[in-house]
């Protein structure tokens, strides 16, 4: 009597399987549709600056003057591209050593204390909204820089400091995961050969986790690249390439947020902002590609 019983039990489970498959398929289809329509919309609006309004691509990418509502209309976005890259890279340069050292402390030196107290604190940093960072930057960091360093206080330095605090949790979390995933045998072998704790960290642990660390840094740079509000409040927003770290500069994101409410959809000024958004989106694709390439390399 075993077979008919099995077939009876198989029927309701067949329906379940089918319903589950269709439901998850619908969800993923919806997701893909949303992403594609978003990319299509940004691309169509961004490219219309070149095809409908007749702006030259090379002029946009390398021009130095930005005046879409001036006479004559100029569309040089190089100051913004320079500003975005310099603030993101400088922020990563500040946050990467800090993040790595913090994760080394949390995993190697004080694991219990790290897991109980430091991990929630780092996660708290990640949860603070970016406008709070911008406000604190404007009220505390900018006056401090203005008093201590020669310059205006605003600029790439202030932007990089604010961004580095924002991407610190990203880098620390990924570095902690990478360190915790190291096989114990690696460190035990190093100690067995007579290396001290710091020698092990410096010569064995760091080079082995370097690919994962790079992934964290690139993700941090991607996050910093896309940050808009916090950067806009502390960077000064002059559409020029600054001559010092403490002179007013501009990024792709701050240029968009500064002007988007004041332009009307369909005008060339608005389309130019969409082109900046298209550049941002393409850079995000590049960052994702780099991260996946690094992950492939890190499979030991």
């Amino acid at each position: 009597m075993a077979q008919p019983l099995e077939r009876q039990q198989a029927k309701p489970h067949l329906a379940e399987e089918w319903v589950g498959k269709v439901y998850t398929l619908l969800c993923i289809a919806f997701l893909i549709l949303t992403i594609f329509s978003l990319v299509y919309f940004v691309a169509s609006k961004g490219l219309s600056t070149f095809f409908v309004n007749g702006v030259n691509v090379i002029d946009l990418l390398t021009g130095l003057k930005w005046a879409p509502e001036g006479e004559p209309r100029l569309f040089g976005a190089l100051p913004f591209i320079f500003g975005s890259f310099s603030t993101s890279l400088l922020a990563a340069a500040i946050a990467a050593p800090l993040g790595f050292c913090a994760s080394v402390f949390m995993v190697e030196i004080a694991p219990k204390f790290g897991r109980q107290y430091l991990q929630p604190v780092i996660e708290l940093l990640a949860g603070i909204p970016s406008v709070v960072y911008g406000f604190v930057g404007l009220s505390v960091i900018v006056p401090f820089f203005r008093d201590v360093f020669p310059g205006q206080g605003v600029g790439i330095a202030a932007g990089a400091v604010v961004l580095s605090i924002m991407i610190l949790p990203t880098i620390t979390t990924i570095a902690t995961d990478a360190l915790a995933a190291l096989p114990k045998g690696l460190k035990e072998g190093s100690y067995a050969l007579g290396a001290t704790r710091w020698q092990t960290i410096y010569r064995i642990v760091l080079p082995t986790t370097l690919p994962a660390l790079m992934t964290g840094i690139v993700l941090g740079i991607a996050r910093a690249f896309g940050e808009a509000l916090a950067v806009q409040m502390v960077i000064g927003n002059a559409p020029h390439i600054p001559r010092s770290l403490f002179e007013s500069a501009s990024t792709l994101t701050s240029a968009i947020t500064l002007s988007m409410g004041n332009t009307a959809m369909g005008t060339v000024a608005n389309n130019a902002l969409w082109s900046l958004a298209l550049i941002l989106m393409l850079m995000t694709f590049v960052f994702v590609f780099i991260v996946r390439w690094l992950e492939r390399r890190s499979k030991i």
Binding site: A67, G70, A238, H240, S259, G261, T263, G266, T267
Partner: protein, 330 residues
């Protein structure tokens, strides 16, 4: 849950009861949450509608007591005009209980686009529509000028200059003069705090105070919100910027323009030229509800109370008129 088939009858019963209990708790929580949300929504309606139960007869004289208006309006656009429209809409909704008016910011450009495409009923704007939209779209919109906003150049309180002529302002904002000592002040670098080039406030300042467009100079600071401009001008030594009169306070110093002080009287009689209309545009002639609201904005109750209280100038106080090309008529 441990393997169900390994337990005996009593344990199985307890497990099922436990599961049922968990499910009941979840359903209970969801119902309480839904109830709270519904109550909160109802409570808000009651508050905004019932807080000031002014009967129809106490409405201003221009309203006919029998006018039972209902419906909803969406007004979007200028953030400079937002406080005034919001306050007026609250008063309007108190008088007409069946009406709901939503006011949003987003910038003059957004407001004009949305009213032109039919996404909103009223578009609030600091500039004439012809300056932002192309001529065909702008011709479809009907302009209602509800207030006047004056603008003044402001400096950091440590700057010792009191008044600037038009030529001096032009020299500062085009970068010809970079130190206050060239204008009679101390030896201090001039720090320009500008608005973005697409801002309506900047367009007004450039047209009527400078007489020409100014460039975005290297080393100038641009901020989009007037509040941030005020904060930066108050804190940065040697800073100069420009603000609407409604934003002036003790943290900054107001400059005279060509010797004329920036007061309501001087704007009204035409001796102080740096001002702009606040527009509320509708696509074509306004609907009955929109017309009632726009007329309400021009009644004495709003013009003499809210407009003045928020720092604007009543439209009917102006002794001169100005059109989009700048021609002045009395």
């Amino acid at each position: 849950m441990p393997a169900f088939y390994n337990m005996n009858c009593q344990e199985k019963n307890k497990e099922l009861e436990g599961e049922l209990y968990e499910m009941k708790k979840t359903v209970m929580m969801l119902m309480v949450l839904a109830l709270t949300v519904v109550l909160a929504a109802c409570g808000q309606n009651n508050n905004s509608g019932g807080a000031s139960p002014s009967p129809e007869s106490s409405a201003p004289a221009s309203e006919s007591p029998a006018a039972e208006l209902s419906g909803s309006l969406l007004a979007t656009g200028s953030s400079a005009l937002l406080p005034l429209v919001e306050q007026a809409s609250k008063k309007f909704m108190d008088i007409h209980k069946g009406v709901s008016i939503q006011v949003q910011a987003g910038g003059s450009g957004t407001g004009l686009t949305q009213v032109s495409e039919g996404q909103s009923d009223i578009g609030n704007s600091d500039v004439f529509a012809e300056e932002k939209l192309d001529a065909a779209k702008a011709a479809e919109l009907v302009d209602h000028q509800v207030a006047v906003v004056g603008m003044a150049a402001v400096v950091n309180p440590n700057v010792s200059v009191d008044s600037l002529t038009k030529q001096q302002l032009v020299d500062i904002f085009t970068g010809k003069v970079t130190n206050w000592k060239d204008l009679g002040g101390e030896d201090q670098k001039i720090q320009i705090i500008n608005r973005p080039s697409s801002s309506g406030t900047r367009a007004t300042f450039e047209t009527y105070a400078l007489g020409q467009k100014s460039e975005d100079l290297q080393g100038s600071i641009q901020e989009d919100s007037s509040g941030t401009v005020r904060k930066l001008v108050g804190e940065t030594p040697g800073a100069i910027g420009y603000l609407a009169l409604s934003y002036l306070d003790e943290s900054i110093k107001v400059l005279k323009y060509d010797g004329v002080e920036a007061t309501v009287e001087n704007v009204a009689n035409g001796t102080y030229p740096v001002w702009a209309y606040e527009h509320m545009y509708t696509k074509g002639e306004p609907s009955e509800l929109a017309k009632a609201f726009l007329d309400f904005m021009l009644t004495d109750e709003i013009q003499n109370n809210d407009v003045v209280e928020l720092g604007y100038i009543p439209a009917n106080k102006m002794e001169i008129k100005r059109d989009v090309n700048g021609t002045i008529t009395k």
